[in-house]
């Protein structure tokens, strides 16, 4: 395994294989390298099937799938930032409090001072960036361990939230702001029983994915690198198209694509691309993997660390906005334990405590594992007490598997 070729869209083997190696060996090799992520994808699939049976098919009903996305959106936003922090070899305990602080600030601005919601949103994200820069400064330039700085941040921002709100809940918000969390793409065109724009979007996505795959294959051939055999390549494409199509139609038969899902997709694709393909993303992996070696290779360690925390701050603010919009109020106890869920998602998704390993897609999968467990267990009536116990075991098992797997390959 490793942070090798795992990010971006549904990734199936893109392995460089010795020219004459049989297809089976090739798949096996790819599976070995990405074992952790494939393992979690399979686990997610199993959990989905299990609850689908258990709930008599309620789990995958269109309205529940939409609900699942909405319920977990803010944790997924945090998990994306958190996995980057963890890859860089740090931790951020303050994100739940920071999200709460930002949602409180939004509430004060819009409800008490009637600031237009677009401006409030911009200010909210700026607050996140400043808070991230504050923590990043102490961590990167002063050298205080991130655990301490963000533990302090956890207290600071929680206290700030309570100072802003006292013990009140402030709401409701302007409709435009609420739409961030509860909105859907508009209905257009003739009545087709499906949400037209969603179907179009899905078809567009399929086209983009196919073009990307074909172009990538052509380029690899042009570089005389080994590519997947034709049959396998077609199978892969068909599987990807089928998955996208099924998901699209499910959403389209309810109310269409939620705005939050677009946001998540943008973050997943954007930050996934940065972590996988941008120089700065590489530097984050290098820093987490071996800080001394990265520094001696000319990586600007302080600046990269600083940027990672600024990014986390902005994402925490975004999560706070999404949460506030969903709740339609700012409350002093918002975001409690969000940081723990985000950290758990990153680790379940394959990040390593010691840094240098993990992917954005993995964190999303980890977050979905937790989300489906929550949703499914609630549907079948498991109490929150037992839910916590089960989630605890899942976290332990996922990371335990990771440790065992690492020891087995002896690295």
């Amino acid at each position: 395994m490793g942070p090798v070729t795992t990010d971006a869209a549904p990734s199936t083997p893109r392995t460089p294989e010795p020219p004459r190696s049989p297809t089976g060996a090739l798949l096996l090799d790819a599976a070995r390298r990405n074992m952790r992520q494939y393992g979690m994808l399979v686990a997610l699939g199993l959990i989905v099937v299990l609850f689908q049976i258990w709930t008599d098919g309620v789990l995958l009903k269109p309205n529940n799938v939409t609900n699942l996305v909405l319920q977990n959106s803010y944790i997924l936003v945090l998990a994306i930032g958190m996995v980057i922090v963890i890859i860089a070899g740090h931790i951020d305990l303050s994100v739940g409090s920071l999200a709460a602080f930002v949602s409180a600030a939004c509430a004060v601005m819009m409800v008490e001072h009637h600031v237009p919601w677009v401006l409030a949103l911009a200010v909210a994200l700026a607050i996140g960036a400043v808070a991230g820069a504050w923590q990043g400064f102490w961590i990167a330039y002063v050298g205080i361990p991130s655990f301490i700085v963000t533990l302090a941040g956890m207290l600071l921002f929680r206290g700030g939230t309570q100072i802003l709100l006292g013990s009140r809940s402030l709401g409701p918000f302007p409709e435009g702001f609420q739409k961030i969390s509860t909105g859907y793409l508009p209905e257009v065109g003739p009545d087709t029983n499906y949400h037209n724009l969603t179907v179009l979007l899905g078809l567009g996505l399929i086209a983009v994915v196919l073009v990307q795959e074909v172009r990538s294959r052509r380029r690899e051939q042009a570089y005389e690198l080994d590519v997947l055999p034709r049959g396998l390549f077609l199978t892969k494409c068909v599987a990807m198209v089928a998955a996208v199509l099924a998901f699209t139609l499910t959403l389209a038969s309810y109310r269409g694509v939620p705005v939050v899902l677009l946001l998540l997709a943008a973050l997943l694709i954007g930050l996934g691309f940065v972590m996988r393909n941008a120089v700065v993303g590489r530097h984050v992996y290098a820093l987490g993997g071996n800080q001394a070696a990265a520094k001696l290779s000319g990586v600007k360690d302080k600046r990269v660390t600083f940027l990672v925390f600024v990014n986390m701050g902005v994402l925490a603010a975004l999560a706070g906005v999404v949460f506030a919009a969903r709740l339609n109020a700012g409350t002093p106890n918002a975001g409690v334990n969000f940081e723990l869920e985000a950290i758990a998602a990153a680790f379940i998704g394959g990040a390593s405590m010691s840094g240098g390993v993990g992917t954005v897609l993995g964190a999303i999968i980890g977050g979905l594992v937790l989300g489906v467990l929550n949703n499914g267990m609630s549907l079948v009536g498991v109490g929150t007490d037992y839910q916590q116990v089960i989630k605890g075991f899942v976290l332990l098992a996922a990371v335990g598997f990771d440790v065992w797997n690492k020891r087995k390959v002896g690295s």
């Binding site: 490793g2 942070p3 090798v4 070729t5 392995t15 460089p16 294989e17 010795p18 390298r33 380029r219 690899e220 570089y223 690198l225 393909n277 941008a278 120089v279 700065v280 590489r282 530097h283 992996y285 290098a286 993997g289 071996n290 001394a292 070696a293 990265a294 520094k295 001696l296 290779s297 000319g298 990586v299 600007k300 390593s352 240098g356 390993v357 390959v409 002896g410 690295s411």
Partner: protein, 518 residues
């Protein structure tokens, strides 16, 4: 003299793939100071670990007799119970505990688990007086200098009724004054009947305090000499240390035919570096050296000579404090205060410690190779993965990195192949000057030859190469000129034609002995 205090007979110790000791015999007489010397990697430290039980009985072959009785130590506690105490080069003190607490650590003055502070302080003060340490027993160890910390270690040893004290390079980290005090103390303890083994490559120290000296080479005892005998000269010891045949194979060196009139590719002038913690100590002391394009220049020195510290401090001030001096490239003075600046001026430093400073072991070959110059395979901040893979593949082929694909995790490769990855990384960065620090450490003979070939090729392409090594044969085989360092100072510059192992070793063991007694 009567029966020996210690006899180690035919000790053999193997590690997976390496035979560290093959047939070592060491005999120490009661009450004598016995020196053990040899090149880096001769087996000195391993031998002491066998003696002190760090390598437990059963993990080596051979017999140890102490005071006539056979010993089978299973750990360090067992050897300490017999009165054999080792003081490692890296001191084993807890910095935030007091001197008194450190002296009795693991051996506390206590009744039923409750420490008796009165007895502790009193006893500590007595021991401290014996070693000449004038400090309050409650001073934190972190607050005293390395020299005094060394004395705390000796006081700790004395508290354990020591009969044989082993000191591993005791003066390597000390200044001249502290060294003189320590050597005096060893002689005082000798007068009290405590025997010592000192591992040292400072021959003048050996002459000053030791009664006899045993020379190790390539894991064997070469001979034991009586230091006081008239024919035991430093030359005699040096010959014994290096008397190895030049059986290593080297590629035919393309003779260096540079233009001596041109400016050197890299020149370091008046370079002085202080220790990052002990800021009084000069780790590199007023060193001036240069290297020309197409030239391979060796830097020889024993452990603690300051070679790595010199290289790392020049390379973006990655080591040390209070650095002074100038760096010149092609006749212009340049700034190399940060790694990116140094890399920007075409300097590359290939570390001796590839696992800690050279590689991201959990990442792939391909990503390790490109890390130093990601800009070359990316456009507008985005890495072109296909181009990256092509580059990595080309290095895998040209450097002969043995791995199925460039996506193999570097941590799984052998030492030789890891070294080729580090070299690839820096060659890809396209430097004019390569500083190679022990590039063949810990790799097998075949891989060494391949690396020598690469180094020769680099020089032939007009790169300037600085080759730091502890292995004299490889310096003689590869270099056009060799600088020698000892205790942070440059002690010589020898042309290829004049260089022999004896000449270099002589320069590597030269120490300015203005304050030490002879």
């Amino acid at each position: 003299m009567g029966a020996p205090l210690l006899e180690m007979r035919s000790i053999v110790k193997t590690f997976p793939g390496v035979r560290a000791l093959s047939d070592v015999t060491l005999t120490v007489a009661p009450g004598e100071v016995h020196a053990v010397c040899g090149e880096n990697g001769a087996g000195k430290s391993t031998l002491m670990k066998v003696l002190s039980g760090v390598h437990p009985h059963g993990s080596y072959q051979g017999d140890i007799l102490f005071q006539g009785e056979p010993c089978a130590f299973k750990d360090m506690r067992a050897s300490e119970a017999r009165g054999i105490v080792i003081i490692h080069q890296e001191l084993a003190l807890v910095p935030y505990l007091s001197i008194a607490e450190n002296i009795f650590l693991g051996n506390e003055h206590a009744r039923r688990g409750i420490v008796s502070w009165g007895a502790t302080l009193q006893h500590a003060a007595r021991l401290m007086k014996r070693v000449g340490l004038r400090e309050h027993p409650q001073t934190r160890v972190a607050d005293i200098g390395v020299g005094k910390q060394q004395l705390v270690e000796i006081a700790k040893a004395l508290s354990k009724e020591v009969r044989l004290l082993i000191l591993d390079e005791p003066t390597a980290a000390l200044n001249d004054e502290d060294s003189a005090h320590l050597l005096g103390l060893i002689l005082e303890l000798k007068a009290q009947g405590i025997a010592s083994i000192i591992i040292s490559h400072k021959l003048n120290e050996i002459a000053a305090v030791a009664d006899s000296v045993t020379v190790l080479r390539d894991g064997r005892t070469i001979e034991t000499l009586d230091v006081k005998a008239p024919d035991t000269t430093e030359e005699r010891i040096i010959r014994s240390m290096v008397g190895r045949d030049l059986d290593h194979r080297f590629p035919e060196r393309t003779p260096y035919a540079g233009d001596p009139g041109a400016h050197p590719a890299l020149e370091v002038r008046d370079w002085t570096v202080h220790h990052p913690i002990d800021q009084q100590r000069k780790v590199v002391d007023d060193v001036t050296l240069h290297v020309r394009r197409g030239e391979i220049v060796g830097v020889a020195g024993l452990m603690g000579a300051g070679r790595t510290e010199l290289a790392m401090s020049v390379f973006g001030r990655s080591y040390g404090r209070g650095i002074s001096g100038t760096v010149w490239k092609d006749g212009h003075q340049i700034r190399t205060r940060t790694v990116p600046e140094a890399v920007g001026h075409g300097i590359a430093y290939v570390t001796e410690d590839r696992k800690h400073y050279g590689l991201n072991l959990i990442d792939t070959i391909s990503r390790n190779i490109t890390l130093g110059a990601l800009g070359k395979v990316s456009r507008r901040g985005i890495v072109d993965e296909h181009e990256e893979r092509r580059v990595a593949e080309s290095y895998r082929t040209s450097m002969g990195i043995k791995a199925p694909t460039v996506f193999e995790q570097v941590g799984r490769l052998s030492g030789g192949n890891q070294q080729k990855v580090v070299l690839s990384k820096w060659i890809f960065a396209g430097p004019d000057v390569l500083i190679l620090d022990e590039p063949t450490r810990g790799i097998d003979v075949g891989a060494k030859y391949e690396i020598y070939t690469v180094i020769d090729r680099l020089a032939a392409q007009g790169k300037a190469v600085v080759f730091i090594s502890s292995e004299l044969p490889e310096l003689l085989g590869m270099c056009d000129r060799v600088y020698t360092m000892a205790a942070g100072r440059l002690t010589g510059e020898t042309a290829r034609a004049d260089a022999t192992q004896e000449v270099l070793m002589r320069l590597m063991t030269t120490h300015d002995m203005t304050t030490n007694k002879r």
